[in-house]
Amino acid sequence: MIRILIVDDHPAMRTGLTAVLRAEPGLVPLDAAASAGDLWPTLNRTKPDVIVLDYHLPGDDGLVLCRRIKRQVPSPAVLLYSAYADASLTIPARLAGVDGLVSKAAPASEIYDAVRRVARGERVLPAISRELLDSAGEKLAPDELPILGMTLEDTPLAEMAATLGVKPNEIAHRIDRMIKRLKVEVPAPARSS
């Protein structure tokens, strides 16, 4: 049995996803949160195995939220669920500690599969191509490249800090900055006048 928490700001998506996950044997949706604010109390109460997390949320986006979720010990697996799920999201997703990436246009079977795999500890992310790495490299500072490299090789934070001779906190800060620079821009709504 895999216990799942859903985070999506859109009510239709929350109810749809809950119904679809409930219909699949072995998957148990526990609750659905509409925002980062709703997430924390629910997370502490339910202790899910997998969080299905919308990328685009009001306030902090899915990547920022994922960073914070992953700071918890033990942390649930995070499946990023996005309308913008293309390969260019892969590197920022890896940096944020995302375990899987699924498009909102994908059929239910793909989500079932992804949920099961991340719950087993697998990664469901597109392979990172040379081109993707090159274009990410152009957006980052030279001293950030080793952090990217070690993250992609799953080096633990403490080891990274030891190798680079800086405090783990400093590394975490840098990773936050790197994510901010690399993430896919979601167009903002027009300011109401």
């Binding site: 239709a12 749809g16 679809v20 498009s103 246009a105």
Partner: protein, 369 residues
Amino acid sequence: MTLLLMTRLLAAGVAVILLVVHRVTPHDPELIALTIVYTAGSLGVLTLVPRLQLSLAAWLVDSVAALALVVASEDWRSPFYILMVTTLILPATGLPFRRALVWGVAFALAYLGVAVYTEVDADTLESTIRLETIATHLMVPLVVVLALAYAADVLERLRGERLRAERLAVESERQRIAWELHDSAKQRVHAAHLVLSALHGQVSGDQGELVAHALAELRAAGADMDTSVAELRTPLEGRSVERLLGERAAELAPVSEAQISVRGSLGELPAHIAAHVYRIGAEALTNAVRHGAAQHVDVVLARNRSSASIEVCDDGRGLPPIRRPGSNGLRSMRARADTIGASLSIGPGAGGRGTRVSLSLPTAPDERS
């Protein structure tokens, strides 16, 4: 022009009355006839050919003609003075502020010339009065030009401001619609697609086909919305597909080692079809450059009597045997092709190398060919 019409008729009236009441020259009747003919003629021509209202040559002809009337009246204290001042209206409202001032000064100098030319000797007291009168005669054109040029300048600026405000309003409205489409309607379509897709595979036979059909429709609706959102955010604005693909290629060129060429033309397409075709072509091009590790990417567009086609070929590593998880691009290309009734084929390129994406859509005959 209304201002010119009114003041010139008034000025001509004043000139005619002065000529009738005072004997000014020995040839007053001819001058009256000339005034009427010139006033009617100049106003008629300027009204019928509005282009001339902004023509430097027309302004010059008008000024010289009025000046000639002043000279013909043999004294600079002429019944034609006001008529002469009306020739300033068009240049003062048509020229930028500084040039209008230059025109006004030139006018005053020309009038001074006429005054010197037509001056007759007289005694000292008269000279003083005369000096004052000539000063007034020279100042009036400057005041007229200043006032008109200032007013015209303010009007022009107001018009510009209003245009800008309208453009901004349209722009923010587009962004708002795009946002609502994306944030609300599309989320519901995604949700409906997701729920229905859970049924797929559980029902079989005719009902299974119905579900598959509904799923395809929902995917197409999603793709339609994507295109509308993209079109609302960065509209094609009537630019051709080949030009936009060329621009996309130029954007991609600096971040890739591939040589990209875009050839051929699709001719005229209805706007929403062109939008879908462009987004399919752009996605294929981007995939080839980003994921295909290609050395060459060729985009060929063609149009004949009954169909239009785009082919994007690269010599890269080809399609991955298993779809990349989370990849949305191919799915949305197919859904877009469905929406516009085009056929899309994606497969290995010639000789099994690279990738070949080809889109073909039936069209009405191109009006240009």
